[in-house]
């Protein structure tokens, strides 16, 4: 079964179309980079994929069910841009954040040993175990993103969706962060990455989807580099062509 299936998906904000007639699938084990110029509808498409928005027409199927009805909180982990910027002042420890990932499994019952183990493992995998008792707001941007990933791992998520996760993160931490994503992907996690930096996507993702409202390319990242999709997609949004081409 595909992780995601989009069939002819269209979405508008009022009368301003954001996504038009997009069809594509994401298979288990894919590391899909979703690229496109600013305002191209990348984030909107991601929200449609996760069921945070409902398409005007067409359908989005997430793990075999309509995405907006999908309520199995254990299969999808989401790392938003806001996750690190917002919640600035909220006193909450790293462990508390990662524990949230376990909530869909636990419901109202008490935490069992298995739950605590998963939380500790998740902290270990992303390399923040030593920060477990720190207040989240005192971490660097890169550390915060790792913690939010650990939350998804604690949930035993099969799909990890990230929306420009390294905005405001320094270059060195970014490299390490994408290495971590690649490692998790090789261990079987399906990754869906919205990213404005095309270099990152071609270097780390196995598959690329390039959109500017419409889908300009969807395929292996090697083929993407050799195709004209980039020029075509970015050409439709002239002012950003030069900025994104180095």
């Amino acid at each position: 079964m595909s992780v995601l299936e989009l069939a002819d998906v269209t979405y508008s904000y009022g009368d301003r179309p954001a996504v038009e007639n997009v069809s594509m699938t994401v298979e288990p084990g894919d590391f899909l980079g979703l690229v496109g110029p600013n305002g191209s509808g990348k984030t909107t498409l991601l929200k449609l994929m996760l069921g945070l928005l409902r398409p005007d027409s067409g359908s989005v199927t997430l793990f075999g069910r309509p995405a907006h009805e999908f309520a199995d909180g254990t299969r999808v982990g989401y790392v938003s841009q806001a996750a690190t910027r917002k919640a600035g002042g909220m006193p909450v420890t790293v462990r508390e954040v990662v524990t949230m990932g376990r909530y869909p499994h636990v419901g109202l019952r008490r935490f069992r040993e298995r739950d605590t183990e998963r939380i500790t493992e998740a902290l270990d995998i992303v390399g923040v175990a030593d920060l477990a008792d720190r207040r989240f707001s005192t971490l660097s941007g890169g550390q915060k993103q790792r913690v939010v990933i650990a939350r998804a791992l604690a949930a035993d998520a099969e799909l990890l969706a990230l929306d420009e996760p390294t905005v405001g993160v320094d270059a060195e931490s970014r490299e390490a962060f994408y290495d971590l994503l690649r490692r998790l992907n090789r261990e079987g996690l399906t990754v869906l990455l919205v990213e404005h930096d095309i270099g990152v996507v071609t270097a780390f993702a196995t598959r690329v989807a390039c959109i500017n409202r419409r889908l300009f390319f969807h395929g292996d990242s090697i083929d993407f580099s050799e195709s004209d999709a980039l020029r075509e997609a970015y050409g439709a949004n002239q002012q950003l062509l030069d900025h994104h081409h180095h």
């Binding site: 996760l50 069921g51 945070l52 309520a71 199995d72 909180g73 254990t74 999808v76 982990g77 989401y78 790392v79 938003s80 806001a82 996750a83 917002k86 919640a87 002042g89 909220m90 006193p91 909450v92 420890t93 508390e96 954040v97 949230m100 990932g101 909530y103 869909p104 636990v106 109202l108 008792d133 720190r134 207040r135 939010v148 939350r151 949930a155 969706a161």
Partner: protein, 288 residues
């Protein structure tokens, strides 16, 4: 400084008065539930909603008084305040679901609108009710009836129980609403629950704190606790401690010097907040 025996005598005398016993019970309840609910509001940048609901609750009080006068019956202003505040809370929440934001402006409109309805209804009501209006605006220790304290205790038990059951989900939504939604949490339902709980706290505490100051108890103790706390659980505990210090000290001072209870409690709470801020900034205090 009072000698210890004199202080003891003073406390015994104070605790001997039934109205002070009622006030202290009410204060303890307020000092628990207001910071508890406020912890979720403050960290979602919803601090304003408490004030807004307090002012709509005032409209509710006026409705009660107006109806009592009109039909020459005894409609409890407390009850009408509760109904109006809960309905306003749901209205604000549903509006925000449609417009996708908690709008400062619409919140201000509801706040002013609630208060305006209140004043107009009261001016329509004939006769000497000005005194009891003051009591609702500024709060009072001495006029708390046994029944009102019982309602407050009941509301408090309900609020604590509701938060205990939904704590995990509320924390998740407070921290990261989108991720919570994707994790299968019914964010809309929780938001409605939170505003309704806020309305209940505001109405419960209004009698003692007054409409104008009641929202401070949702915010100030939480602001104080946020300075120190590392974990969210700890921040709630510390906020409740700050709330209790404010309420018990404020009530005692209010009794001792015959000064306004609501105002005194809020000033003590602000003192605790400033003290916490000073300590965390000046000294190398470890976060707890």
């Amino acid at each position: 400084m009072l000698p210890l025996t004199q202080l003891g005598g003073f406390l015994v005398e104070m605790l001997g008065y039934p109205f002070m016993q009622r006030a202290l019970v009410a204060g303890v309840c307020i000092g628990i539930v207001a910071p508890l609910v406020g912890s979720f509001l403050v960290h979602r940048q919803l601090a304003m909603i408490g004030d807004t609901l307090a002012h709509t609750a005032f409209a509710g009080v006026a409705v009660g008084i107006f109806l009592s006068n009109l039909f020459e019956t005894n409609v409890s202003p407390y009850l009408t305040a509760l109904v109006v505040a809960v309905l306003s809370a749901l209205l604000i929440q549903v509006l925000s679901e449609y417009t996708d934001v908690y709008n400062d402006v619409s919140m201000a409109v509801v706040l002013a609108g609630g208060f305006a309805v209140g004043t107009v209804l009261i001016s329509l009501t004939s006769g000497g009710i000005a005194v009891s209006i003051n009591q609702y605006l500024f709060g009072s220790l001495s006029t708390l009836t046994r029944g009102e304290v019982e309602i407050l205790v009941g509301l408090s038990v309900l609020v604590v129980a509701a938060i205990a059951v939904s704590y995990r989900q509320l924390v998740y939504v407070t921290f990261d609403e989108s991720a919570a939604r994707i994790a299968g949490i019914d964010v809309r339902l929780l938001n409605r629950l939170l505003v309704v709980l806020t309305a209940m706290v505001v109405v419960g505490a209004m009698q003692m704190m007054g409409v104008i100051l009641v929202a401070a108890m949702l915010v100030v103790p939480v602001a104080a606790a946020t300075q120190f706390a590392r974990s969210f659980k700890r921040s709630i505990v510390l906020a409740i401690v700050a709330g209790q210090v404010a309420v018990l000290t404020g009530t005692t001072l209010s009794y001792a010097y015959g000064i306004a209870a609501g105002g005194t409690i809020v000033l003590v709470a602000i003192g605790v907040y400033l003290g916490a801020a000073a300590v965390t900034r000046l000294g190398p205090v470890r976060m707890r």
